[in-house]
């Protein structure tokens, strides 16, 4: 974390909660840069998170009002906050297991309802905190603690799901492309409608080790190869590519 962003952190927080190589630190820094560039008033911003590694990005780190909720329910809590006090900026930060599995119904209904919420989903394609179990975003065939022979099921395409549910702003970014990611986050936060940003963020500890990545660096290299910015592409995306951009 750059020192210039420390003003947004609670002084009591001196250590990162994230494992070595986790992408969430880059997401955290990108989010703070987006906030800084927008000049957001942190005293009028509420960060809502659920349960899991990504829920620790705002809580307890950010020096703002934080509501660290139950597993899956962050978007429902946030809806109550926003509706009861529309003057507050409400930003949800949580993971794919939290927002898309146990909280999937809340996510699509919030997109349909179109309250002014910004929902940031750190997608590491696995349950990190509980020990590397299969998530609804785990690619088919990939190895997890509950799919040792490979995930037999198809993953959600979260951005398409939320777009299909009616969200006016949807973007997918990746921690390997932080400058684009900051741009998406800024647009989402500045939007006065429901905005969803899916952020591909590697989990070397639970996902990388099981799926034969030699190092966090190898995961980042692979993620970089997979990322293709479809909004700029003139030609069809290569096989296996992960399309990034605004939906």
């Amino acid at each position: 974390m750059a020192r210039s962003m420390e003003k947004y952190l609670r002084p009591e927080v001196v250590t990162t909660p994230f494992c070595p190589g986790c992408g969430h630190g880059v997401l955290m820094g990108s989010l703070l840069r987006a906030i800084d560039q927008l000049g957001l008033d942190m005293d009028q911003t509420v960060f809502v998170s659920g349960i899991g590694c990504a829920a620790w990005i705002p809580s307890p780190n950010f020096a703002a009002d934080t509501l660290h909720t139950l597993h899956g329910r962050a978007v429902a809590f946030a809806s109550g906050v926003k509706k009861a006090n529309p003057d507050l900026k409400v930003i949800v930060v949580s993971g794919d297991g939290d927002l898309a599995s146990i909280g999937g119904n809340h996510l699509i209904h919030a997109a349909r309802r179109n309250l002014d919420l910004t929902v940031i989903c750190a997608n590491n394609m696995i349950y990190g905190m509980t020990g590397g179990q299969m998530a609804p975003t785990t690619p088919q065939g990939h190895l997890t603690a509950t799919s040792v022979k490979g995930n037999p099921y198809r993953p959600f395409d979260l951005s398409k799901l939320v777009k299909g549910a009616g969200a006016p702003y949807v973007a997918r970014g990746a921690v390997v492309r932080p400058y684009e990611l900051i741009g998406y986050l800024k647009k989402a936060i500045a939007s006065e409608e429901f905005a969803f940003v899916e952020v591909m963020s590697p989990c070397p500890t639970q996902y990388g080790r099981r799926n034969k990545y030699d190092s966090p660096g190898a995961m980042y290299d692979r993620l970089g190869e997979m990322c293709a910015n479809f909004s700029d592409a003139d030609c069809p995306l290569p096989e296996g590519a992960l399309p990034l951009g605004e939906f």
Binding site: R10, E12, M42, D43, Q44, V46, V48, S59, P60, A63, A64, D65, T66, L67, H68, T69, L70, R73, A76, F77, A78, S79, G80, V81, K83, A84, N85, D87, L88, N105, H106, H109
Partner: protein, 381 residues
């Protein structure tokens, strides 16, 4: 407790109302500014009322996708400083339990009107029951306290809803109006007061929001946007909200304070009414709609020469065990009629000492008749 008297925002005077509408008006009178809910029989009229009235009175209404989302939205809204509520029935109460534990642990004031129907499960959705007595107290995991009030009339659907808000805001706990289908759908006369007494939550800027030096203390409650940089978490936390999950003594003290802040104030919270208790030999302990039948039965018993009395519990949780022990001395027996298989009966037995306790249970989806209670009293003579 320090209450402020305000003009009742709903139409005062003699009126004819349903119980569910009276509960909704009670919420508005108490200052409710947020309703998040999901339709469920037999409580839906409360939600419909709030959808019509709340926004016009400066509040906000959200129909959520399920009861889990409903209570979650209510907790979120409460942290903005809004008095917030939902209404539901048995299956919805079951779904809300995890979040009710969150509200208890984060000391978030929320009001839940539970218009009880005949359970378990889907049961008889349109029929009366009182099977949620234990569920509202013990339904979430871990140890915590709630407040639950039991109205026996449409008048009390109004007044006890106001009181549920006042207790919830003051104690920072979930508070239930533990109503029943029969009272929710009952239409009867209400004398709507010109003024109501309301409690507005205490906020002292800069004070820690999650603990005091008092082992039974109720901390100051700021709101989002006050600049306090609040940390609200369902994990074990220190008095400033920092997650603190190490140290067994610390967790023990926190859980005990959350319980003791309610239990140490039982004398202020618990209310009951007594009828013909002075010389009573047989005392009917009843609550909610059943107390209406019980009073009728007690009066009939008196005419038949039986020295019967009625102890009507208004507060169910926290349970007034000292009241039961006090009344038990010098009587020949308790009779506990209930529209469940004996949920309060067990509590009465626990505190009745050597006084015999008879349980009269009925779970057929209809109210207990005065004749049933009278017959049981006659058998006890």
């Amino acid at each position: 407790m320090p209450l402020s008297t305000v003009n009742n925002p709903v139409q005062a005077g003699r009126r004819y109302l349903s119980g569910n509408d009276a509960a909704a008006e009670g919420a508005i009178a108490a200052g409710c500014r947020f309703y998040g809910g999901y339709p469920i029989t037999p409580s839906s009229e409360i939600m419909e009322y709030m959808s019509r009235e709340l926004e016009a009175r400066g509040g906000a209404f959200l129909q959520m996708e399920d009861e889990i989302a409903s209570i979650s939205s209510v907790v979120g809204a409460s942290w903005t400083g809004a008095k917030a509520m939902t209404a539901t029935s048995g299956p919805g109460v079951s779904l809300m339990q995890e979040c009710l534990g969150y509200a208890a642990f984060t000391e978030t004031p929320v009001v839940v009107v539970d218009v009880q129907r005949a359970g378990p499960c889907t049961g008889q959705a349109t029929k009366v029951g009182a099977g949620d007595i234990m569920a509202v107290k013990w339904g979430s995991h871990g140890d915590y306290q709630v407040v639950a009030l039991s109205p026996w009339s449409v008048q009390e659907m109004f007044s006890l809803t106001v009181e549920a808000f006042n207790l919830s805001e003051r104690l920072r706990v979930p508070a239930f109006l533990l109503a029943e289908e029969a009272t929710g759908h009952l239409r009867e006369r209400v004398d709507m007061p010109e003024t109501v007494e309301v409690y507005n939550r205490d906020y002292v800027p800069g004070e820690p929001p999650f603990g005091t030096d008092d082992p039974a203390g109720i901390p100051s409650m700021p709101s989002f946007g006050d600049g306090e940089k609040l940390m609200v978490t369902g994990s074990t936390h220190d008095r400033f909200g920092f997650r603190k999950t190490e140290g067994p003594a610390f967790h023990d003290a926190l859980v005990r304070r959350l319980s003791n802040k309610v239990l140490s104030r039982k004398n202020e919270i618990c209310r009951h009414e007594g009828y013909h208790l002075d010389d009573a030999e047989l005392v009917v302990v009843a609550y909610g709609f059943t107390a209406r039948s019980a009073l009728s039965a007690v009066r009939a018993a008196r005419q038949a020469g039986i020295k019967a009395g009625l102890l009507r519990l208004i507060t169910i949780w926290p349970f007034d065990n000292e009241l039961i022990s006090r009344v038990a001395g010098g009587i020949k027996g308790f009779l506990v009629p209930e529209m469940n298989l004996g949920q309060v009966d067990g509590l009465v037995r626990a505190y009745a000492g050597s006084t015999p306790v008879r349980s009269l249970t009925q779970v057929n989806g209809s109210t207990i008749s005065p004749a049933s209670i009278l017959a049981a009293l006659k058998e006890m003579c």
